[in-house]
Subunit: 214 residues, 2 copies
Amino acid sequence: MNKNSILRLSRYRNALNRLKNAGLVKIFSDYLADAVGVTSSQVRKDFSLFGIAGNKRGGYKIDALLEKLNTILGKNVVQPVVLVGAGNIGSALIKYKGFEKEGIRIVAAFDSEPAKIRPAAKVPILPVAELAAYVKANSIKIAIISVPESVAQQVFDTLRAAGISGFLNFAPLRLRSDNNCVVNNVNLELELENVIYFVNVFEKSGIGIGLDKD
Amino acid sequence: MNKNSILRLSRYRNALNRLKNAGLVKIFSDYLADAVGVTSSQVRKDFSLFGIAGNKRGGYKIDALLEKLNTILGKNVVQPVVLVGAGNIGSALIKYKGFEKEGIRIVAAFDSEPAKIRPAAKVPILPVAELAAYVKANSIKIAIISVPESVAQQVFDTLRAAGISGFLNFAPLRLRSDNNCVVNNVNLELELENVIYFVNVFEKSGIGIGLDKD
DNA sequence: TAGATTGTTAATCGATTAACAATC
DNA sequence: TAGATTGTTAATCGATTAACAATC
């Protein structure tokens, strides 16, 4: 029930959708494990953790399994999300097709720069002044933060006060927070720095560095 | 010497830069731990892992410490990086200021769409056909992959063959690879899905869900 | 039934934390 | 010196993996 097991559930779901499209109806933990790159023990452990049962002899029925995973992961309803900060990254995320495909909809974006306001756009870009009211009026629970580092904490606090409890944060800093919310940080500099480190070590030593999983 | 300890080194470095700007000259592991949000044991353990020594009574000298961290993390030279896929996300990354600030320079971008080619731009956007030659000619080791899922594996293989050994991958799939390279995946759908899960659990149970660290 | 797979418990592994001797 | 901090070893913790009884 930790973050890793949830991420794996998403991966199982992705793999199962592909396998279903390929015509499979049932699957053994062993094969699903191969498809995702984990052990069969891991698959069965994860499933049992979420009360997902298979058939002792016939493995798991893909349809039923997908249904369970969709329910657990909230895939049966479209998840409304707001985005704050319509800069480079924010604008790209607004246009990004990958979210809609996964049932995640950015319903509105907010920016402090008057030049960026476009209330009539397909995804309306509104003044940050309207943020709290919008979030409350529409009971939004999830936000993407793509503002500059300097204002990220303030934006976070505003969102928190407006009732947001789940965050995807692109600002490269650790947000100070109470613990009744969840914050996933996407720190691009850090990720690249990490890649650079391992490549440099590799260049010097010639030792295999392995494929990162996450 | 695992991925986590390297990521923490980056965080120590960020914190130390701030503390240095605030006027500090020396620091105890205990205080640095507070600044980064880890235990002092963790700080000392990480440092000892990389052969960084302090003074038994006086803690660590910030300047010397930063120098060591910069060397380990490759911060003393500008790191050239190529980007493949100048779509929404790719274009945003090209314009993103955060990389240059951290000594990471996107020296060229590549796209398969003729309309996107701009060889004269500050960050030139070139045809993918020129990719392998450019990478080899300039001894580039790091690449950002921001192409659609459907062509990501093929782009990856091309980059791999051209000599790239470090990847930041935005395509939402697991790249098949030998293990003489390092791939950090940024899967935005997965990260948001994860946030959504925890928020839904929280909404139902009312139990605190905690602040994710990573 | 015999054989194979699940579900779960126990063992292992790795990373984090605590403790404390060395030492400045 | 006395007191406090480092560096490192041992203990703890949590997650992954192996093993196997239950069972279809």
